[in-house]
């Protein structure tokens, strides 16, 4: 069976992009339409020195801080004595990368990325949309919304977002995220409407609302049109018995697999959200799922020494278990795994300063990193690097991934464009205005 990339290669080299039509184009589209996407948000601004962009504390010692402007500070971490670098699958990580090392061979890391902001909302919205916000207002739809719109409306909830913002400014309403603040709220939303009415009463209400929506005043109103589309979507969602799929309270096997903490509080945990993402993807409920992999990373004070690392690690572990689950599950009788058809991207709004402040914490830094793993990703690859003085963003040759002063400084939109390219969506229809990072594409 030809892979999507093989098909595209054939189209690009022998038939030409324009000539790729008819059945070839349909085949290529079918392959692309098999992709799923998980966006894992690490909330608060992660310290990349502890995870994705570490420095060797021997090389970057305390004595040289004035020259390097980089302070790994691993010796200050209270719950990880003798913390050091971790190497796996050709990648080097900080001490709190956790179980994600298991997937290093399927993962690429982008370093030296510029967020161009030190504001939480602006950085988060920049990464979610691939466009610099206007002030704090998102300018454009979320990439998850865009992908859901391009991949079709066949799934019951094409775009699902738990504790992550989502925007739809220019895409069809079916692509709007079903957004919930936690797994319990999602389960409640997917249950049939309650209290129950008789089918005849339900039918009468539905008929009246549907007829009203066909009137001129309704058709002239964008809000009414969205409301009616949403009403129909809500009705569809609740008739598909999806609540049970996400109800972890009675699913001990899933809770154990992900390590979901006991009790109701556990249902809001990173582990529960990762489990929910797996259910949404493998249950064929959603094409794009956004979750908050962890939170509480905005450690300006002494909590950096105690909380930053463990919180990051908890998020990495949750994503690693999700990847384990996807990798161990066969994709619809093909002999391939679900991970072969899923891309997971991990991101945060920005990172933290390479120097520790006077309060034993780290402040905001616009230099960022990101990881992307799964389908079509060249594993064990590092794209770019932050500078060895002050960890500044640096330009990169997007084809080789090496630092190159003639290249481009990586930004979130490069990562998002790469995801679109991997989904078979070329030509920059989302107006990201940057090329993909081919260095991390297989």
């Amino acid at each position: 069976m030809l892979t999507r990339r093989q098909l595209l290669k054939i189209g690009g080299t022998t038939l030409g992009g324009v000539a790729l039509g008819g059945s070839w184009a349909r085949l290529a589209h079918a392959a692309a339409s098999d992709m799923r996407f998980v966006f894992a948000y690490f909330s608060g601004g992660w310290d990349i020195l502890l995870g994705l962009d570490p420095r060797d504390p021997v090389e970057f010692s305390s004595e040289d801080i004035s020259a390097t402007l980089i302070q790994p500070g691993y010796e200050l971490l209270q719950n990880r004595p003798n913390a050091g670098l971790i190497r796996a699958g050709g990648l080097t990580f900080g001490p709190f990368i956790g179980e994600l090392t298991r997937h290093a061979d399927k993962m690429a890391v982008i370093r030296g990325m510029s967020m161009e902001t030190l504001t939480h909302e602006a950085g988060r919205r920049r990464f979610i949309t691939g466009k610099p916000p206007s002030g704090l207002l998102a300018r454009g739809s979320s990439i998850a919304t865009f992908l859901a719109s391009k991949l079709g409306e066949d799934h019951p909830i094409p775009n699902l977002a738990i504790r992550v913002e989502s925007y739809n400014v220019d895409q069809p309403s079916y692509a709007t995220a079903l957004a919930a603040s936690g797994v319990p709220d999602l389960v409640r939303a997917l249950r049939p409407a309650e209290p129950k009415l008789t089918p005849a009463e339900d039918g009468a209400i539905d008929a009246l609302l549907a007829e009203s929506a066909r009137c001129n005043s309704a058709l002239r109103s964008p809000a009414w049109r969205v409301a009616e589309a949403s009403r129909l979507k809500a009705r569809e969602m609740t008739t598909k018995n999806l609540a049970g799929l996400f109800d972890l309270t009675n699913n001990d096997a899933l809770r154990t697999r992900y390590g979901v903490p006991a009790g109701a509080a556990g249902l809001g945990s990173p582990e529960a959200q990762a489990a929910m993402a797996a259910q949404a993807i493998m249950g064929n409920v959603s094409r794009a799922v956004s979750i908050e992999a962890t939170s509480g990373l905005d450690t300006h004070f002494r909590e950096w020494t105690t909380d930053q690392g463990p919180r990051q690690e908890r998020g990495f572990n949750a994503i690693a278990r999700l990847a384990d689950h996807l990798a161990a599950s066969e994709y619809q009788g093909t002999g391939q795994s679900w991970l072969d058809h899923t891309i997971i991207v991990g991101f945060s709004e920005f990172s933290r300063t390479p120097l520790i402040n006077a309060r034993e914490g780290r402040d905001h830094s616009l230099t960022n990193a990101s990881f992307i793993l799964g389908a079509g990703i060249r594993g064990g690859v590092t794209v770019g690097a932050s500078s060895d003085v002050g960890m500044q963003p640096q330009p990169v040759d997007l084809a080789t991934g090496r630092v190159d002063m003639g290249g481009q400084v990586p930004r979130p939109e490069h990562v998002l464009q790469t995801m679109l390219e991997l989904a078979g969506i070329s030509g920059d229809p989302d107006d990201l205005r940057v090329p993909p990072i081919r260095a991390m594409m297989r």
Binding site: A179, A193, L208, A213, A227, S230, R231
Partner: protein, 234 residues
């Protein structure tokens, strides 16, 4: 076939299509002379046509475009439901505590926490619609239970009709009650012969034809009124 005929017979026209429409007048033309019988127009010196011809009539007032509809925020919606039901909200008893579900689900329904979110998401999304439906069913069920026992003057739903009234046994009471409910829930004051009433009488006809009990019909009317965009969009 019989069902199809019933559906066709019961389908209603949009009320606004039947509203009396003022026929558009002739397009004012700046070159048409006033008729001899028209009153003279006072024109300040120097405003007339420099060529000594026809006076240019004053610009017609700009057409006022209706404002785009906007969804109520959660507080407004919670308040509006309590207002129309006479104090019944969307709540759930947990032990001895009455939990306001609009408060409990506020984050999911897009209310700002002023930490991660600073403005309310007012999109009438699928999540909003689902929970609006739940809220309407819950508060309408309580309203159907409580309202008949209230003193007549304090009733908010069975204002002009009784729970057992139908179009067949008391059309006038049903229509009067529907008009009262449309005023209460949607702020629309309708005359007895107003076309805007038609969808709701049609609703009653349909309910009778499909065998819904009178109590069930009124409950469904309540849920429809509350989930209708005229309730939560303004």
């Amino acid at each position: 076939m019989k069902q199809l005929t019933l559906v066709l017979a019961l389908s209603f026209a949009c009320s606004e299509a039947k509203l009396p429409i003022t026929p558009p007048g002739p397009t004012p033309s700046p070159t048409v002379s006033p008729s001899p019988s028209a009153s003279p127009v006072d024109v300040p010196v120097g405003v007339g046509d420099p060529h000594g011809g026809v006076l240019i009539p004053p610009e017609p007032p700009p057409e006022v475009e209706p404002r785009a509809r906007r969804r109520m925020d959660l507080d407004q919606l919670d308040h509006a439901i309590r207002q129309v039901t006479g104090g019944i909200g969307w709540t759930e008893m947990r032990g001895q505590t009455e939990v306001n579900l609009f408060v409990e689900l506020a984050a999911t329904l897009g209310k700002p926490d002023f930490l991660a979110r600073t403005e309310e998401d007012l999109v009438p999304s699928a999540m909003f619609q689902k929970f609006l439906d739940d809220a309407a069913r819950s508060s309408c069920q309580a309203l159907m239970r409580d309202d008949p026992d209230r003193p007549t003057a304090a009733r908010t739903f069975f204002i002009e009709a009784a729970p057992e009234d139908t179009l067949t046994n008391d059309r006038e009471a049903v229509e009067k009650n529907l008009r009262a409910l449309l005023l209460r829930f949607h702020g629309r004051r309708l005359a007895a012969d107003d076309a805007g009433l038609e969808p709701w009488t049609w609703f009653f006809s349909r309910a009778e034809h499909t065998g819904i009990s009178p109590a069930g019909t009124w409950r469904a009317v309540c849920v429809s009124l509350m989930t209708h965009p005229d309730f939560y969009l303004y």
